[in-house]
């Protein structure tokens, strides 16, 4: 198992390639479908024997799917907590899944664009992630994978309520469609608060993660649908995509304004961020995220020759704590992690000269 994870640690997910539309601003888009088996108790209440039977049926259906039959099958119980954490950092499992538990499996296809959690809160949690803003395509792909799995599985479904899930917040389509956006300019110009608020009035969810003293860690935000019942999947996707597009336009404008207002100041900020990143010997996660966010903005503005978006995207994921430890092949204390993180960044940036 450890070998598989090391292999993964040495390659990057395909959705980091930054080859999708608007990839300079939209990091990725994701569709998640929740499904349960008709005659099986849902995982939060199920006995081990039921979880076992359910997982066997699902794994069999997976082996018959063109999309997933080549995929890796990972038993969460065989992993250490760092290894589970590694899968979380790669956006392949949920926080709940990192707690481990019997008969919980991750199915992940090689490029990591398609994956499936078995026996999370629902029997199946199918996920597709693509680069940039192409949510409709992401839905179509997940729909096809779902069709194939359904050929061999009997899903819990009621005409009036659609796909039945353990949590009532997922009933209906069982779908969560989301876009992850990088919004440094809207954050700097302090417009982000109002925008997030107005998004939420449209029945969507906007969330950000921000650290002490700074507005956001790495300036990343996520937009997703709130309601899963009563709308067609295409309508949900269309809503999220349309609103995301509007935010993208606003971010573009804000970037342009910042650039026109004071190009020298921006160049100075990028240069300083680069200077710290390429010279530091100790680098915390938080500091790295904030500096890399500046570089990512710089790449968009063409202020950093020799860089491209893909390398930046990959760097965000190369420096997460569990990733560092899996690649190094041993557990590291926070100090050693900061040291290794600084080294990984230095080496990567030097190779671009």
């Amino acid at each position: 198992m450890t070998m598989i994870l090391q292999k993964m640690a040495n390659s990057s997910s395909l959705w980091l390639k930054a080859d999708g539309p608007e990839a300079g601003i939209v990091f990725s888009c994701r569709v998640r479908l929740a499904r349960n088996l008709e005659d099986f108790t849902f995982p939060p209440w199920a006995k081990d024997s039921v979880m076992k039977d359910a997982s066997e049926r699902i794994i069999e259906a997976v082996s018959k799917s063109d999309y997933l039959k080549q995929a890796r099958l990972i038993d969460m119980n065989e992993l250490s907590s760092t290894e589970r954490r590694f899968l979380l950092e790669r956006h392949l499992v949920s926080v709940e899944f990192t707690e481990g538990g019997n008969y919980r499996f991750l199915v992940v296809e090689k490029g990591e664009m398609m994956s499936l959690m078995i026996n999370e809160e629902d029997h199946l949690r199918l996920q597709v992630i693509l680069s940039g803003l192409q949510l409709m395509e992401t839905w179509r792909l997940s729909n096809r994978v779902d069709d194939q799995l359904e050929e061999n599985l009997n899903y819990a479904f009621l005409p009036q309520w659609g796909y039945l899930t353990a949590c009532p917040t997922n009933v209906g389509t069982g779908m969560r469609a989301s876009c992850m956006l990088h919004l440094p300019a809207l954050t700097t110009t302090r417009k982000i608060g109002d925008i997030l608020k107005s998004i939420s009035k449209l029945g969507l969810v906007a969330r950000g993660l921000y650290g002490e003293g700074t507005e956001s860690e790495g300036d990343f935000f996520q937009i997703s649908n709130q309601v899963t019942l009563g709308l067609k999947e295409e309508e949900i996707v269309d809503n999220v995509e349309r609103v995301t597009r509007q935010v993208v336009e606003q971010e573009k404008k804000a970037r342009e304004v910042l650039y026109k207002r004071n190009k020298t100041q921006l160049s100075d900020e990028m240069g300083r961020a680069y200077g710290v990143l390429i010279n530091a010997h100790l680098m915390s996660s938080k500091e790295a995220m904030n500096l890399l966010s500046k570089l990512r903005f710089g790449v968009y503005l063409d202020l950093l020759p020799g860089f491209n978006m893909r390398i930046l995207n990959e760097l965000f994921f190369l420096i997460t704590p569990a990733q560092l430890q899996i690649k190094e092949g041993k557990e590291l204390n926070p100090f050693s992690r900061d040291e290794l993180r600084a080294r990984v960044i230095r080496e990567k940036l030097s190779s671009l000269k």
């Binding site: 849902f42 790495g218 938080k286």
Partner: protein, 183 residues
């Protein structure tokens, strides 16, 4: 500011989520954030404050006789489901139909499913398909504010559902035959 989980240590992790113009914040200390798997992490797509807080708040619901009923498949009663905030199995959705209808209306609005339908399984039942279509018509009628038509459709659905329920009860006793047919 103190951590909202332990209430002892200083909060250094701040999460913000806006749903329906309602802003929710969660402030955690380093230890609790780590315990919830949220510290030092790159943005996690599946993370949601509402999920995190689901265990902390109990669902408020009206009382009816369903409260004493137990789901014939998984054996849960509604008090258990309510406490955990998680439904037991697909049959729970029928056993606690009235409860869940109220709950779903609160969370999702007064709507019916209009998305994808599995190709096989339940909808092969002709009556189910009929009900499904009628429900869509009903939704449409309500949207167009054609209330007379809506009332008529609602009666038709009810009539079909009564037939279906008796039919279902008979099928349930011959469960073994059913599963072998499907398998």
């Amino acid at each position: 500011m103190l951590c909202q989980i332990c209430g002892k240590r200083k909060a250094t992790f701040h999460f913000k989520e806006v749903i329906n113009a309602e802003e929710r914040e969660l402030h955690l200390c380093e230890v609790c954030a780590k315990e919830k798997g949220l510290s030092e992490s790159f943005f996690i797509p599946s993370f949601s404050l509402s999920n995190l807080m689901a265990g902390l708040t109990e669902l408020e619901l009206p009382v009816s006789e369903e409260v004493t009923a137990r789901c014939p498949h998984c054996g849960l009663d509604y008090a258990q489901i309510r406490k955990k905030g998680k439904i037991g199995c697909s049959l729970c959705y029928q056993t606690f139909k009235d409860y869940l209808a109220v709950l779903l209306e609160k969370i999702q609005g007064k709507v019916y499913h209009s998305g994808k339908v599995p190709k096989k399984g339940k909808l092969e039942d002709k009556k189910q398909r009929q009900i499904y279509k009628l429900r869509k018509d009903l939704e449409e009628a309500i949207r167009k504010e054609e209330y007379e038509k809506a009332a008529q459709l609602r009666d038709e659905i009810r009539a079909l559902e009564t037939i279906r329920n008796t039919h279902h009860a008979i099928r349930d006793t011959s469960n073994d035959n059913d599963s072998s047919e499907n398998g």
